[in-house]
Amino acid sequence: MADYSIPADLMEALKNKFPGLEIQENRDVIVPAADLIPFMSEIKDNQDYAMDFLTNLTGADYKDRFEMVYNLVSMTHGYTLMVKVRIEDKEKPEIPSLCPIWGGANWQEREIYDLMGIVFTGYTGHPTRIFLDDNFQGHPLRKDFQWQGGREA
Amino acid sequence: MENIFIGIASSLRGFFSGLGVPDLYNDIIMLVVKLVSILVFILVNALWLVYMERRVCAFMQSRLGPIHVGPKGLLQSFADIGKLLGKEIILPKGIDLVVFLLMPVLIFVPPLLIYAVIPFGKDMVAVDMNIGVFYLLAVASLSTILFWAAGWSSNNKYSLIGGMRSVAQMVSYELPLILALLGVIMLTGTLNINQIVNAQNGIWFILTQPIAFLIYFIAGVAETNRTPFCLVEGESEIIAGPYTEYSGMGFAMFFLAEYANVMIISAMCTVMFLGGWLAPFGLDFIPSWLWFFLKMYVMIFIFMWVRWTYPRIRVDQLMGFGWKVLVPLSLANIFVTGVGMYIYRAIGW
């Protein structure tokens, strides 16, 4: 399979700009939550990267943390990049919303809020539930979510 | 064959006068008989048209259509009506009960009134009226009020939108419809339908007034709310327009009324442009009423053909087309007809 990740020198430049950046061996990037907005703005607006397409936005619930996953694509250069953000606070997970940067983040963030309960801040009236009923209690994709019922009940 | 219906009528009249019924009452009885037979004719035809529409549509769509009930599925519409009769009439909350229930009943009144003046064959007209065309146009627009009232009383936004669309559509398409017929009336100089038919003895008006025919056809499609002007029903947008809340027989009445209206527009078309019951090419051995039905059914088929081919236009395009294209075009047609007639007379053929 061909390699579409960002070249090493550009990665290096990013690393210098954002010291908190952690580059994994498969070139996924782990960004501190505080740096998320500046980092995303940088790789979107800097024409060296031009990561203008937010393909995928999701999250995962681990034992000790939540992890947000962003998949970015550059339309001009063809680079792809997976950005991860760790949210250590399991009780009240919060992360800045990407809606001001990408319109496409809106629904995906609402989905993650709905199913995983990660609160996206910094965007008015956001997020709200998208799939489940507004009165629904809990967030089903969390590992501690328990649901009673179904056909066996 | 030619005089079969007239024969039945006169023998009936003779039967009643034989019983000693006075002439005045006899006339009234005959009128009632004629109207009842027209009502039966409308209903039977509407049922048949439902079947025909489904069959034609199915054939055009490479399907078989109804084939199960009766031979070739001929009794399908009866089965449908039977089913619909057995259904509960659902009354939604907040409806205007009287209007809601009255509309499906009244919906057959305008077609019935119109059929009174349509000549189905030579001397086969219930009421031979001097101002037939005028009467016809006046009565034909009544059904819009019924649609609108049905939509209004349903207490449903879709119904309301449909009702409003129906009014808007009628207002903008009644005008070109009438203006198109004006060309014919100018040529004949009469409003009597029988005389208009007779005037086409030499040449049908579709040949002398092709533009008027086209305008009439388009406006007629719009009047009957059929694709591409089926905005009133607009099933992919506003569910079923004014009929959304109707169930059971209420819905069936609207459904059948649509076909009654299609028949009227086709019958009008036949009378005004296709020579009515006149036989073309001297094929007189076929009875006149058969010619009338033949021509009417050709028109109905074209209606169906168009319906199952074209998509629906949008409401603002509908208005624009009506007012910006059809009305000026029909006015131009009247102008050209007038000038043509003047030249025609001046040359003195």
């Binding site: 399979m1 061909a2 579409y4 203008d52 397409f53 937010l54 393909t55 995928n56 999701t58 995962a60 619930d61 996953v69 998949n71 339309m75 063809g78 792809t80 997976m82 990408w102 319109g103 496409g104 983040a105 809106n106 629904w107 995906q108 989905e111 199913l115 539930r129 998208i130 799939f131 489940l132 089903p140 994709l141 | 549509c57 055009m60 769509q61 490479s62 399907r63 936004k157 879709y158 939108i161 694709t227 591409p228 089926c230 905005l231 607009g234 099933e235 992919s236 947008e237 506003i238 569910i239 199952w308 081919t309 074209y310 998509p311 629906r312 236009i313 949008r314 409401v315 603002d316 395009q317």
Partner: protein, 364 residues
Amino acid sequence: MKTQTYSLNLGPQHPSTHGVFRIILELDGETVVKATPVPGYLHRGIEKLAEARTYTQVIPYTDRMDYLAGMLMNWGYVQAVEKLMGIEVPERAEYIRVIVGELSRIASHMIATGAYGGDIGALTAFTYTFRDREYCIDLLEMVSGSRMTFSYFRVGGVADDLPGEFYPAARKFLADLPGMCDEYDGLITGNEIFQARTKHVGVITPEMGINYSLSGPTLRGSGVNYDLRKVRPYSVYDRLNFEVPLGKNGDCFDRFRIRIEEMRQCGKIIQQALDQIPEGSIQAKVPKVIKPPVGDAYAEVESSKGVYGCYLVSDGSPKPYRVHFRRPSFINLGYLAKLCEGWKIADVIAILGSIDIVLGEVDC
């Protein structure tokens, strides 16, 4: 005169929301002032269900997302598992995947085309496409045994080899395909009323399309050349010669037209794949119990609706720790609210239809 807007609930049960989907329209007469899409009526929690099943057992659930292009849904998921495990898929299996995937794409586009005709009011187009789709589905049934929810892909290959009767049948279908497309073009695309309804309606600019993460024909209608099969070729697409149809104006008409063009291209792809398909194994060496190493992977395929991605996290057990599907229909819908503003009710239907959503996929 005092006027006021009113709200209209379009859906969840509505003939042309393509399933259980609701749009709350704030209307001024017939003009839309504000549109609020409300998905979620078909949410089954497939992502959660997947966590309780083994890797293979997830496959049947994936084709319940976009049930019109089930093969492609299988493909995206299976590819993510393979990426996670580092499995090399045998060449023949890759070709089979391309063939069935493209057939699935044709089937899906046929529905999109026909349903769009139905939305605009031309119901005959709807039956024509469904009629032709049956022949396409026949081929897929021949291969996989099912007509819609195929579950044909397996980790490392496919479930079964192509049957012998498939080849002549497929070639016959491919020979008929251009004629079918011509028929749709003649009946719908060329129709002036249809063009009046769809041209310059619901225009998506390329910038907004990219900003809102749109993909598939919805994005390509705006002229953005983003087709994963070309941009980041997976499987054997780099060996196949085809074009990516692009729109110019980004209106409903372009989005619609592109699908018909894509069907023609799909035909070309299948033709080449049938010519090139090598003999060999259809299944890579995969352990009986699939246990990917700890880690995560994200893989994408170009589905009929757009970029379909699968994000997979493994904790080393036989069951996936977390599965996320990037469903193109869902993300394409994110732009709907903005797109509908200022148009008539009829246009809302036209715009929604042109995005071509499948609610099973939107709600997942």
